[in-house]
Structure formats: C-alpha cells, structure tokens
Symmetry: none
Subunit: 181 residues, 4 copies
DNA sequence: TCTTAACCGAGACGGTACGTCCTGTCTTCGG
DNA sequence: CCGAAGACAGGACGTACCGTCTCGGTTAAGA
C-alpha cells in the first residue's frame, strides 16, 4: 500500500514489491498469483469491517452511512487511484475479477440489498420494487464517476442520489409492520 | 480492431499492430502516443454517428433508443472487452482519459442532458429536476456492470432503468408548452 | 565466433548473438557491456597460450616464431576481419580499448620486449638500443597493413622485417655473457 | 568537421549532418554513399597540399618533414579521433577503404617511396634496400599507435624512428651520382 | 540433540514488449 | 525542376518486468 500511494499504482510491480519488502519474487509468487491479488488482499485487509452498517431503523440514514463510507474509503484520496487500478487490472485477469467481486464488492451489494429488503418488507416501498436495480442505481454512478474520471460525489450529492433512488422505489411510508389487509 | 477482436485486447501491442498493419513502430509512435490512443481512435472512427438520436417528442422512446444503442454498441459482443480495456488503460494514462471523455463519452452525456432539458422545459419534469445526476443514473449502472463484470443489461432492463430514472424526476406530464401560471 | 565467421563481423549484433545462442539479450547485457566485449572475450579465450614463445637462445628464431604466430592467428583467414572489427570498435568504446590492450596486445608486447631485453643483456645489441621502439617497428607494420587493407605479410616478409629491425638495433653478436672489460 | 570535433565522431550521423547543414538527407545520399565518404571528403579537402614535401637533398630532413606533417595533422589533436573513426569505418565499408587509400594514404606512401628511391639511386642506401618495407616501417608504427591507443610519437621519437629506419637501409653515404663501377 | 525437510533471500534466466535511434528510400510541395 | 522537409519500413538498440528456476542458508519439527 505504501508503494501504491507513494509511487502510483503504475509503478507497483512484483519486482518493486519484492525490493520494497525485502522478500524474493519467488516468495510472492508462492502466495499470490499476480500483482493485483497482492494489492487486493492488502486492500481487503485494510477495509476490515468498514461499512457493515447497523440498522438504525431509518433506511435513508442507513444508506447514507453506507454510501458515504464506501465513497470516502474507496473513491477519494490516494486509495481511489489504487482501487481504480485494481479494477482496471480485472479487465485482463479473470481470477482477480472474481476475487474482487467476492471479497470487496458483493458483500457490500448484499448488505445494501438486505437493508432495502427489510425496508420493503416493512412496507416502506412498493412490494414489487426492483431492489437489485436499486443497488445498481446507488453504486453504478459512483463507480462510473470514479472509472471515467468524472470526479467523486460530495456527501451532499450522495444524499441527493439516495433520495432519488428511494423516491423511485415507490411511496415511502414510515417503517411499520406489513399493512394488514 | 481486427487484432482486438481476434486476439483479445491483451494481445494488442504496438509491435503486433505494426506487424499486422505492415507499418513500422516508429510510424505508429509518430501519430499516437500509446496503444490506447490507437484503439480509441479506431473505435471513435467506427462509432461514427451512432447515438445522435433524433427528438421524436417522446422522451422515453428517445432515451431508450440512445441507451440501447450505447449498450449494444459498447457493452456487448467483442467490443465490450475492447472498450473495457481502453477504460482500464485510462487509469494510468491521463491523456487517454481526457481523449476518451472528449471523444466518446461527453458527446453522449451532452446529448442525453440536452434531450432531458428539452423535456423539462416542456413541463414534463419538475423544473428543479437534477438532470446531471439523472444522466449519471442512466449511464452509471451500465458502465458499472461492464467494468465490475456484473453482466450487461438486457433491453428490458434498460427500459426498466429508464422508467425508474424518469420516475425520479418528478410527475411526468405530456409534452407541452411551459405551463402558464 | 561462429556468427563472426559465417555472417561477417557486421552482422554480429547483440540480437543475433542472443538468437544464435538461445540466450536472452538481458543475460548478455548482464555479463558484457557491449558487443565488442563479447567478441573480445571469445577471441581471448580462443587464443589461449598462443605466442608464449620459449627462449631458444636464438633471438631471430624466437622473434620469427612469435611474429608468425601473431600474423597467422590474428591477421589471416576469417579471424582477420573479426580482429579488425574489434579494433575498429575500440575507436568509439574506451572500455573496450582498454580491455583489448590489457588482454590481447600488452601481453604480447611485453613478451617481445623481454625477449629483446634478454638479448641485449647478453650483448647481442647495443646497450642503448631502444627496445620499445623496436617492438613498435615489429608490430606496427603488421597492424598497419591489416587496418589499412594493404595485405598481410608473408612469412618471408616477416623474416625480412625482423632482420631489418634487428639490424637497426646495433651489431648483432652471438649470445654470450656480457663482455668483460 | 565541426560536428566531428564538437560532438565526437560517434555522434556524426547522416541525420546530424543534414540537420547541421540545413540540407536534406536525400541530398546527402545523392552525392555520397555513406557517412564515412562525407567525412573523408571533408578531410581530404582540408589536407590540401600538406605533405607534398620538396626535395631538400637531405633525405633525413625530408622524411622528418613529411612524417612530422603527417603525425601533426592526422594523429594529434581533435582530428586524430576523426581519422581513427574513418579508418574504423573502412573495416565494414570496402568502398570507403578504397577511397581512403587512394585519396589519403597512397599519395603519401608514393611520395615517401619516391624520395627514398631517389636517395638510393644517388647511392645513399644499399642498392637492394627494400624501400616498400621501409615505408611500412615509417608509417606502420604511427598508425599502429594511433589505432591501438598507444599514444602518438613526439617529434623527437619520430626523429629516432627515421634514424632507425634509415640505418636499416644500409650505410648512409652523402648524396652523389650513382657510383661508377 | 541431531537430522531433515520446508521455506526463504537472492537473483540469474528465457522471454516479450517497450520506446528510441538511425539507415536508406520515397513522396510532397514551394521557390 | 530541384531540393528542403520529412514520412516511411526496417531493424538494432538497451531497458523493464514477467514468471520460472536454481542456489545456499536458516529454521523448526520429528527422530
């Protein structure tokens, strides 16, 4: 990670990692298949339990928390370029793509979907709201803006984004037990 | 482009382009700064006037046409990997990033924004609808799904996406002159 | 050496050596700084102990042996062009020049000087004979004829050369202990 | 010549000559076959009538004059490296070798031989003195020392060289008509 | 306590591609 | 119509990493 941030992701090569860490290339290859995997693992390790957001009862607050955590962690500051670099590498490294999905992205997608599902089950959204697409609407724009170099959203914009997405899911009603008919 | 599709973007090197085209490496370097620029230019040339969608009067139809054209052209079939490869390359090539934006992405962003603005001016959306974010909501998910290997949207899903986004922009009313107060 | 003699020294490039020997260019650069150094080392290795002429007691015979060995080895046949090529390369490669001197030329110059000195000490030449210049007179013409494309000396001409040079060093007397006065 | 002396012979390329002289490469190739020929011609032009030594009657003086002129002009100062560079180039350019001989070297060889022949005809040397080899003995050492990086002779050493060579040609007698038998 | 096998650092190796340089030929276009 | 300007194919240069592969040296576990 130090190499990534001081030299830029492009300068991170297996040889540089070996030199920087006082480890032989052989040893690196023993444990990871390629550069991307090393960096991915380092990143996963650093993330830890970030964004395992609790359920405060307020769906908007909870989404805000998660989205802001994701954007702050992955899409701003020096880590942004590193993360973008890893995603770039997945374009010609299928195994890395799989690992990235499994270890970083899918947990967060699942968490968001589950939180939305709970809200829907409590009657806050229309019962047929497409939650999968809702998550695409939340994550899509922020990844798109990262990878296409359009600038990350501010916290305020994230709020607006969430409002838009939630607005599209049907009339928001206060949380409560499923309506009895 | 032939090299891209027959060998895969990873095998496209300056040397391969030179060999395939019967041209010296020097000549390639004379005209393009790097591999990505060559492929980008080829792609831009192929796209041509794709997605300069006309205004049919129906905002939903027009958006559908554009979005489907974009997804069909850039995000399915053999071109998908090529396009993803270029975007990957922009992560460590600032000039390429700039060119990609200017030549491919921004024209389409602008076209979509202008179409939405016309619709808003005709009273089809709330007057304070955030059109910039609306475009992010349209393009974001499809780029996100391309680059994170989540699978491209079907035409049907694109329709649903557009409905969601338009729904979030306020009560849709039939096109007409701005309401007189 | 095979490349040198089959293709000519001009066709000997680092790339050709690498291809011919099944070795990567990197490996060559790891061990030698430039093409000339590779060829020089090969040549030195081939020469081995050539021209470490013994002292037969007869100065003329000894010089003949050495000079003929040098001319036969370095200045006739396919090796002539190779050797000339290396010397040519020393004109723009100072390190190579140094190595050529140290490894090939100076040992032979020294050997000749020492043999002449022994003869002088035994009273065969005038005590103030300039032995350094004598060696220049021996080697100079044969290098000059090689490098200026004037044709190598025949064995007979070498004999004449040696006679001339020895004749210039003073009255030749039979070897013996320094004259007692 | 300016390029040769300011940048070193190695930096003299056809492209550099073209750039420096404000002439197109094509034009250079129209008139000269290769770099060496350009430089050779420039050098020949500069030499002019140098070393067309007159016959003073004293063979030693005349040889001294010629040899010193040659050494001073070709083998010391900035021209030495240029001249050595041209000779180096003749090792892989046969035509250049021929031109160098014809235009630079042979005229001087011939001049020396003729002067020696006149001296011999006047009875200054033994009638069977090998004049061709005598010239080799004069020029050989100075070219050898130039091309093998052994350092040029001083004027004093040149005098000694000439004395040695002349000494080897037989008993020197004052010039006079051929002895009547 | 001694042996032995696993693991390590170091880095050489065969490769592939890079981006640069120069060659000698060819083409364009202005004076 | 000549020549400057310079594009072009070709090919070697020297460099950077890749991923594989020995080497010894060191631990640490089992005998």
């Amino acid at each position: 990670m130090e190499l990534c941030t001081t030299e830029g992701y492009g300068k991170v090569t297996i040889e540089a990692i070996a030199a920087r860490s006082g480890v032989s290339k052989k040893t690196i290859y023993r444990w990871w298949p390629a550069k991307g995997a090393v960096v991915l693992e380092a990143m996963v390790e650093m993330v830890g339990e970030v964004t395992q957001f609790p359920d405060t009862g307020d769906i908007v607050t909870d989404l805000r928390n998660q989205m802001i955590a994701v954007v702050d962690y992955f899409m701003t500051g020096p880590r942004a370029a590193v993360y973008a670099g890893i995603i770039a590498e997945t374009q010609h490294d299928e195994a890395l793509a799989r690992n990235l999905l499994e270890q970083l992205l899918e947990p967060r997608i699942r968490a968001a979907q589950e939180r939305l599902r709970r809200a829907r089950d409590q009657g806050q959204f229309a019962p047929d709201a497409d939650l999968e697409m809702a998550v695409d609407l939340l994550y899509g724009p922020i990844y798109y803006r990262l990878l296409l170099h359009l600038g990350a959203y501010s916290h305020k914009q994230i709020g607006a984004l969430i409002d838009l997405v939630i607005g599209s899911l049907g009339p928001v009603r206060p949380a409560g037990p499923p309506p009895v008919q």
